[in-house]
């Protein structure tokens, strides 16, 4: 028996969201008297991977392949194979484009119950239940998983990792067979060279149509830089091409769960709130005291963004 965590690597390092998944997996292993193992696929080094012991991993299965993230079938084939070899009762992934796709494939291969957007550790009191976020953050469901293998995709902040000195054993690992070629060909990848990735960011500065035009984003970026925050925007802003689509948060955009979300010149429509309502602390800056966003805020400032943002940036420097 084991808990198997799928870790995503980026530039040789384990992604922050995967660290959360590993820590989560280690706590599940502790509660079920088993061990937490990690499957890491990609270029890295033994030192980096052995440090995953600090987050509770006892063993890292390292598959040194450099597949692009469009090769979902190859990742899923390897993970499903490791699940069988390790007789894993739980498979844990961190929510991401690749993570959810791999989780779905592995669940189908093993006929395993699957829960995504999981926000807390499983409850073992009567069978296994997990709490997941539904209705775009407007509610939660406690779901009972009825199969021997259970696949969980966890949402950001499901646990708060705390490091404990430990060393994981790193093993070079290979699946027992190769995945069939699915004919998926990656032609090109376009990635913004932004400093802080929005899905993983702890701090987010977001702006809406109140900014009036793309030429005014300097004050948003300055504040984000002073904080070390990622930038986001409302849907009309990306529809108008003021900002790239992947920055748009909300019902039809990215769902974020930072510790701090600062909304500048955003009215707070219910569809926008759906993407940010899992944030720990929300600050709203809007010149209209009646803006609906204030109802969802922890701190509010009624004021003009063109005056407030530069003053905040200065106060931080």
């Amino acid at each position: 028996m084991s808990v198997l965590v799928f870790a995503e690597l980026e530039n040789g390092q384990v992604k922050k969201s995967s660290i959360e998944a590993i820590y989560y997996g280690a706590l599940v292993a502790k509660a079920t008297q088993s061990t937490a193992k990690v499957l890491a696929i990609g270029a890295s080094n033994s030192d980096t991977l052995s440090q995953l012991g600090n987050w509770g991993a006892s063993e890292v299965l390292w598959l040194q392949e450099t597949w692009d993230s469009a090769q979902i079938a190859a990742y899923a084939h390897a993970l499903a194979d490791a699940v069988a070899q390790e007789q894993s009762a739980f498979v844990i992934v961190a929510k991401s484009v690749l993570g959810d796709a791999v989780a779905a494939s592995v669940a189908a291969k093993h006929k395993a119950a699957l829960a995504t957007n999981v926000v807390a550790l499983p409850d073992h009191a009567a069978g296994v239940t997990v709490k997941r976020s539904i209705y775009t953050g407007k509610a939660f469901a406690t779901v009972k998983l009825h199969t021997a293998v259970k696949v969980l995709s966890i949402k950001k902040n499901a646990v708060t990792p705390e490091a404990n000195a430990g060393v994981a054993e790193v093993k070079h690992w290979q699946p027992s067979s190769n995945a069939a070629n699915t004919g998926i060909k990656l032609v090109a990848t376009h990635k913004a060279s932004s400093t802080v990735a929005l899905p993983e960011a702890d701090l987010v500065v977001s702006a809406g149509r109140g900014l009036k035009g793309p030429e005014n984003w300097g004050i948003v970026e300055d504040l984000a830089k002073a904080l070390g925050a990622a930038t986001a925007c409302s849907k009309p802003v990306s529809d108008l091409n003021w900002r790239p689509h992947h920055e748009h948060v909300g019902q039809t955009g990215l769902k974020v769960a930072p510790n701090l979300y600062i909304a500048c010149g955003i009215s707070g429509a219910i569809q926008h709130l759906a993407g940010v309502n899992s944030s720990k602390v929300i600050v709203v800056i809007n010149k209209d005291p009646e803006a609906p966003f204030f109802k969802a805020a922890d701190y509010g400032i009624v004021g003009d963004v063109f005056e407030v943002l530069p003053r905040l940036t200065k106060a931080l420097q």
Binding site: V97, A108, F140, A141, V187, E200, Q251, L260
Partner: protein, 244 residues
């Protein structure tokens, strides 16, 4: 080209969510149901592809009879026929199983879905169906063109996008700006009344069940900071909220 579009029947984006029967059931009273916004993108692109390449668009829903008005609306937008698997869509695996079962009988070149449903937001039905059928699933797709047997698509990834080439058949989870949402025309609404809507029985079982629902704790009151004291926010975030 034969296209299957899978749609979910979900509460409107502005709906107030509440539960009944001791928090074990979604309270449908006073809630307007719509076709999932992402599923709407999938349907709109499917109708465009049909106009461009010929073929048929079939709409599929796993749901109870109260989904029929939404299914009719999809027919009015331009789908040719519809199938409803008569069952409560209890978990993703169950829904995927129904879709895969139907797709095994009818060979579709494309199975289009939304990137995620608005109620359960699982974002996994396309991945499950792809695996069950042994064909690739890609999501979330922002652009899609078809030439012969090849699909050229763009999908969003964290912080950017990927251009991908793939061979049909495929399962795709769609999002904007893959197409503009279509509004049914008067003619579409009239013709939708006579288009076939087949109701079939489900197969298999769910692997998970919802035991209980809950609403998030109510938000505390907002602390307003006078604009003259903007700078004090920094201190509050550091020492009171402790997020910096």
């Amino acid at each position: 080209m034969k296209i299957l579009v899978c749609i979910s029947n979900v509460p409107d984006t502005t709906a107030k969510i509440s539960f009944s029967d001791g928090d074990t059931k979604f309270n449908k009273s006073g809630v307007q149901f719509i076709c999932g916004p992402y599923d709407d993108y999938a349907l709109s692109r499917a109708v465009e592809l049909k106009e461009e390449h010929g073929g048929t668009v079939t709409v599929l829903n796993v749901g109870e009879a109260d989904a029929d008005p939404v299914i009719r609306k999809c027919l009015a937008i331009g789908a040719d026929d519809a199938i409803r698997v008569d069952a409560e869509p209890s978990d993703s695996y169950f829904v995927a199983q129904q879709i895969a079962h139907i797709a095994q009988q009818e060979k579709y070149d494309l199975i289009l879905m939304g990137r995620e449903s608005l109620d359960f937001n699982s974002g996994v039905v396309h991945g499950l169906v792809g695996e069950m059928l042994g064909i690739p699933a890609v999501s979330p797709v922002m652009h899609l063109t078809i030439a012969g047997n090849t699909a050229s698509l763009t999908r969003e990834i964290e912080g950017g996008k990927q251009e991908i080439e793939a061979t049909l058949p495929l399962v795709l989870g769609c999002q904007e700006p893959i197409a503009e949402w279509k509004i049914p025309s008067m003619r579409g609404i009239v013709s939708a009344r006579t288009k076939p809507l087949k109701v079939v029985a489900p197969t298999g079982e769910a692997l998970s069940t919802v035991e209980k629902y809950a609403l998030p704790p109510a938000k505390g009151a907002v602390k307003m900071i006078p604009v003259e004291q903007v700078e004090s926010l920094v201190d509050l975030l550091r020492n009171e909220a402790k997020v910096l």
